[in-house]
Point group: C2
Chain length 142, copies 2
Amino acid sequence: MPETQPFELAAPLQQDSCFVADWPLCQLRVINDQQYPWFLLIPRRPGLKELIDLTPADYLQYHQESWQLAAWLRQCFRPDKLNIAALGNMVPQLHIHHIARFKHDKAWPAPVWGVAKMQPYQPAALQQQIGQWRQSLPAWPS
Amino acid sequence: MPETQPFELAAPLQQDSCFVADWPLCQLRVINDQQYPWFLLIPRRPGLKELIDLTPADYLQYHQESWQLAAWLRQCFRPDKLNIAALGNMVPQLHIHHIARFKHDKAWPAPVWGVAKMQPYQPAALQQQIGQWRQSLPAWPS
């Protein structure tokens, strides 16, 4: 894949989630559904569909970022379980779900996909929440 | 977690899947459901619940094994999409699903969990199939 080809976010991902941060490889976004703490890591490379489409160096970097996100989710939300999944049957652009799950959440113990209609945050509340998360999210060396 | 504690496979994993191979870190098993090529990687370490419970060295090794399995799944089955997921809401022992998905499969485009009742292989056919898969699965240095 030529390096000159720009990274573009697929429209459904843009629509369902909000920007949180750009990490060295991935864009971190949050799904606009207040029923679950539900984040996405999206490698900022064009034309990716599978994790094994990443270069070996990017594959290592992705898993460092996934580790950091998962550790933060566990510390921040104290979930009963983390769910980490690369599915993409509907939106083929590579995006990896990282979700803090609770025994009292709407879908438990099923996976979250397709269970409950999304309940968007109030826009101002979401921006305030994202601002708070940014205070505790891992900072990467620039 | 003390090294002396043995690895034990959780009963539901034992029941729903069959042994394929022991890789350096993980046991590779196949879910006994002929509707999907559906494999599990289960790190052979006691007491694991999350990917971030792995030591850093095991975390790297796991992702090498996941890469190998995913590449083999793509080459062997030519799926429309791979689904790779660490869920574990029902069975907490760390196990990571690797599934070859097709536009014509029973659950598409939904995730496979909870969609269709499992359709077990005939036992002899499954053992024959596993024997064939072993011929093409990656061999690890001992």
